[in-house]
């Protein structure tokens, strides 16, 4: 897997010019190969730039110059075919109309295939806009797909994945293009399985954006716009403004409207740990927060080192000392990482320690396996 790099095929992959097998091979390789991921991001950025190339209008005078040149070359081409002339006038007039119609039909057909996703009914009567979809339908950019209490649907995310939409859910297709596929989940629950490389599939929610890093996950949004993410394989990044949490398989992360993503945690952490974490993440300052942090520190296992690492940069300075001590006890920092450096949030040292903890996205499969020891 790590010997056959796939960098030369990234453009073809993003333009959907490869076979499904090749697509899958590249996507799988990317999940495990950080070197290829760097190049993939570069190619994707290059594509985004190339998409900006404008079409420039030709000078208005050009036709008259061509017309004059043609007149010089020959009195008129039509004179050479006088019998054909009446037919031509009709043919050209018809052609202009047909051309317009064909163009419109072609644009419509392209918009059906390239700016829409196929939707299949799984149960009940899912609706696109106000129309029940029957067995299958097309979700176009800007359209909402809605399920009631008795209905479910499945969406094909272009050629890169599938989303199952649970009952009482409202999702909208925001964008679909080679470098970005984006849904909005306004409320309800969806499960996504994506076999594309990282950072192609996004889900906007009222309290954060879920960015696929090569994964399968469930995302649920409540009526207040808060959400909870459960990752079943790979990685998902949750973001809102400057706050970001990368969530690995087996972990979950909550978000709150107006705050953004909380701290990721493994789902097998104790109930006390998870409840205290929610308190620290979203309940503001006060005595409750202080006692919640105590619970987190006392309940933390080696596997919860990920959560403690995130907390280092999300707690106050006095709190950080206590988090540092517990984290160092569970997973001693590498030699180049000092206590002072971490307490002053030195980015390089935090990064080195994160690598030691083996939960950074893009960590190769060997390290991910180590991560499971936590």
């Amino acid at each position: 897997m790590f010997t056959a790099h796939v960098t030369r095929k990234f453009s073809a992959f993003l333009h959907q010019e490869l076979s499904p097998e090749e697509n899958r091979r590249i996507a799988e390789h990317l999940i495990g190969c950080s070197r290829c991921r760097v190049e993939f991001e570069e190619v994707k950025f290059g594509m985004r730039l190339a998409e900006q190339v404008p079409i420039t209008s030709a000078p208005q005078s050009l036709w008259s110059e061509i017309d004059a040149a043609l007149s010089k070359q020959s009195t008129t081409y039509v004179v050479a075919h006088p019998r054909w002339r009446p037919q031509t006038a009709f043919a050209i007039a018809a052609s202009i109309i047909v051309l317009g119609l064909a163009g419109a039909l072609l644009i419509r057909s392209i918009s059906n295939t390239q700016t829409s996703w196929a939707v299949a009914r799984l149960q009940g009567t899912p609706r696109i806009g106000s129309i029940a979809i029957g067995e299958a339908g097309k979700l176009r950019v800007g359209q909402w797909l809605e399920t009631d209490a008795g209905s479910r649907a499945q969406i094909n995310v272009g050629t890169i994945g599938q989303v199952e939409v649970d009952p009482n859910t409202r999702v909208r297709l925001l964008e679909t293009k080679p470098t970005e596929h984006r849904l909005e989940l306004a409320r309800g629950r969806m499960s996504a399985r994506v076999w594309a490389p990282p950072k192609l599939f996004f889900v906007n929610t009222p309290s954060g954006i879920a960015e696929d890093l090569g994964c399968a996950y469930t995302l649920e949004v409540d009526d207040d716009g808060n959400s909870i993410l459960h990752v079943t394989s790979g990685w998902v990044s949750l973001q809102l403004t400057n706050r970001e949490s990368a969530v690995p398989a087996g972990a979950a992360c909550a978000t709150r409207r107006g705050i953004g993503p909380g701290t990721p945690y493994f789902e097998d952490a104790s109930e006390a740990f998870r409840s205290a974490l929610a308190n620290v993440d979203f309940s503001g300052d006060g005595p409750a927060r202080i006692s919640a942090l105590k619970v987190i520190i006392s309940e933390a296992r080696s596997r919860d080192a990920m959560t403690l690492w995130y907390l280092l940069s999300r707690v106050s300075e006095p709190e950080r000392v206590r988090v540092y001590d517990r984290l160092a006890e569970l997973v001693p920092p590498p030699e180049a990482v000092t206590r002072e450096g971490v307490l002053s949030l030195n980015e390089q040292m935090l990064g080195l320690w994160k690598e030691q903890l083996a939960f950074a996205p893009g960590t190769n499969s060997q390290k991910l396996k180590l991560g499971k020891k936590f």
Binding site: R8, E17, A50, V53, I55, T88, I92, S95
Partner: protein, 198 residues
């Protein structure tokens, strides 16, 4: 000469009768083809000739004059657009070889500045980005530039680009990949700008 933002989503749908009319020398039919393709042909010529507007206009004119004289050779066994863009690419190559009318990059830049003054404030960021991209594309080698132009201006598939350039699909994939990377490296400093990330 306004630069438009709209990208082509589809290839042209030219009716066969227009082509047949052109093959019979009908100037009105040529006008139909001209109106359909002129902006994209001109754009490809413009970027292929380092932003030299006069040379691009000359090439566009030559392309349509050649079209009317050679269209009898078009047998319909290839897509008309593929056939046309072979003519465009060859004419651009001839122009570069014959006239050596390459405008220095700085001159392309000065043209950009004169347009910038006229741009709307609201479109400024997008316009500026397009200009940087145009300049970066103009700096690419022709081998990397032409696949990019055919992909993003005409919306061709890899197979169609290969047919225009007379190479394999694999070569097209490789050149596009190198072209994308080259653009990314030249314009690395634009990374993170909202107008690209949107």
């Amino acid at each position: 000469m306004a630069a438009t933002r709209e990208q082509p989503e589809v290839k042209s749908a030219i009716d066969e009768r227009v082509i047949v009319a052109c093959q019979h020398g009908d100037r009105d039919a040529l006008r139909v083809l001209f109106e359909e393709y002129k902006d994209r042909v001109y754009s490809i010529a413009l970027y292929s000739l380092s932003g030299n507007e006069a040379a691009a206009a000359d090439v566009t004119q030559q392309v349509f004059l050649k079209l009317i004289s050679r269209i009898s050779q078009f047998r319909g066994d290839a897509e008309f657009a593929t056939w046309l863009y072979r003519l465009v690419v060859n004419t651009c190559w001839d122009e570069r070889r014959k006239e050596k009318r390459l405008v220095p990059f700085e001159e392309f830049g000065s043209m950009r500045n004169s347009r910038r003054e006229a741009s709307q404030a609201t479109q400024y960021a997008q316009q500026e980005l397009s200009e940087h991209v145009q300049a970066a594309i103009a700096e690419l080698s022709p081998k990397l530039r032409l696949p990019i132009l055919l992909k993003y201006i005409e919306g061709f598939s890899y197979e169609e680009i290969a047919a225009v350039l007379g190479c394999s699909k694999g070569t097209v994939a490789s050149r596009l990949n190198r072209g994308h990377k080259s653009l990314a490296r030249r314009l690395e400093w634009l990374r993170g700008q909202a107008v690209i990330e949107e």
